[in-house]
Symmetry: C2
Subunit: 220 residues, 2 copies
């Protein structure tokens, strides 16, 4: 009952529960606007437990961001896997759209953190992210030199990919209201991924012959 293994299980389960609740609250209300009581209620635990497991609100916030960064890295890896621009961009955009779908609150915590000036993520942005961006910029430049894509500014292209893919997580509510009050279902979201791919690939010069199956925009 109180064996070390059992205790670890409880700890892990509760920590995961609190992290998930915290991610949602931080996404909805930002760091300052989130209360530990709000997190506790969301996790259906007493407020004191939140402090027992994570000590301070600031520390819990850092742990939430850390989890998001891990998933971010996974999506980033999709870009590096292939040297063909169409395949690499498709893999990356698809991974980012999946992240937005599966972890919309994580995306919003990131957005909120940057909107307030990125006090916690500053270091990550200036080191890991900058290094990653520099490498991607070189890859894109090589594609341009080889005539594989149009001559666009690589950073502008990267930012467009981030902006568009994250928009579907961060502005989910607006999109749902404009969709008649309903969030996208799975079918709608898959179709949207196709459209995003078509638009972004189109912006660097690829036309949509490869994905003509999806195109169904003839009717009024």
């Amino acid at each position: 009952m109180s064996s070390p293994a059992r205790k670890l299980d409880i700890r892990e389960a509760n920590e995961a529960l609190i992290l998930r609740a915290a991610e949602k609250q931080f996404a909805l209300h930002g760091f300052r606007g989130t209360t530990t009581e709000g997190i506790a209620n969301e996790a259906r635990l007493p407020k004191a437990n939140v402090h027992y497991y994570f000590k301070t609100k600031a520390n819990l916030y850092r742990q939430v961001l850390k989890g998001i960064l891990e998933d971010w890295m996974d999506a980033a890896a999709a870009f590096e896997a292939d040297d063909d621009p169409q395949r690499a961009l498709t893999a990356y955009i698809t991974a980012k759209m999946q992240f937005s779908r599966q972890r919309p609150y994580g995306s919003r915590v990131w957005a909120s953190e940057i909107m307030r000036g990125a006090p916690v993520m500053e270091r990550f942005l200036g080191t890991t992210l900058k290094t990653w961006v520099n490498a991607r910029v070189r890859t894109i430049r090589s594609w341009i030199s080889a005539g594989k894509i149009r001559a666009v500014d690589p950073e502008s292209l990267l930012y467009m990919i981030w902006a568009v893919t994250q928009h579907y997580a961060d502005f989910e509510r607006q999109i749902a209201i404009l969709n008649g009050g309903n969030a996208f279902d799975e079918r709608q979201y898959r179709e949207r991924v196709e459209q995003v791919l078509k638009l972004i690939l189109g912006s660097v010069g690829f036309e949509a012959q490869e994905m003509t199956r999806v195109r169904q925009r003839a009717s009024a």
Copy 2:
């Protein structure tokens, strides 16, 4: 000295001061995370004055959003002014990029409001914005039918424009850090507007003259 005209001047000046300070604070910390004291400090006024002019924090927040919506409408008008897709899209994207440049905090307040579920803007989104979007969707469909642009999903295109243009306001800090720690200067920003135009216009099939020849399909 205390003539009605003079009093009105003071009121208007202070209200404007508080509104600007509030916009910044709400942008940085969201509705809940913003304190009336923070707004007062930002405006260099005593906390009580904020309540004297705007009564409650919630009301001040609504006034800030109202001001942002007005500017948003102005930018929206740029889309309707022209029936030629290239000119209409260029005017709209340029107006939106200018808004992001001149009012980055306004853009972030909007983002923050939507990320928390749009409790205040819900009505606007479902009425004015939805009507505007529907009209724009019809326009874009007519361009597609007339063969003036590629057959893309109109809403996906609109969302891409919003996402990309607002990204430069909402993620300003991240962009600055990736830019070596410095925010874009005027020249850099103008160039970025050109790149954004090139990418988005390219996504619907317009190619910049300079690189018409460069475009060749990547042979895998």
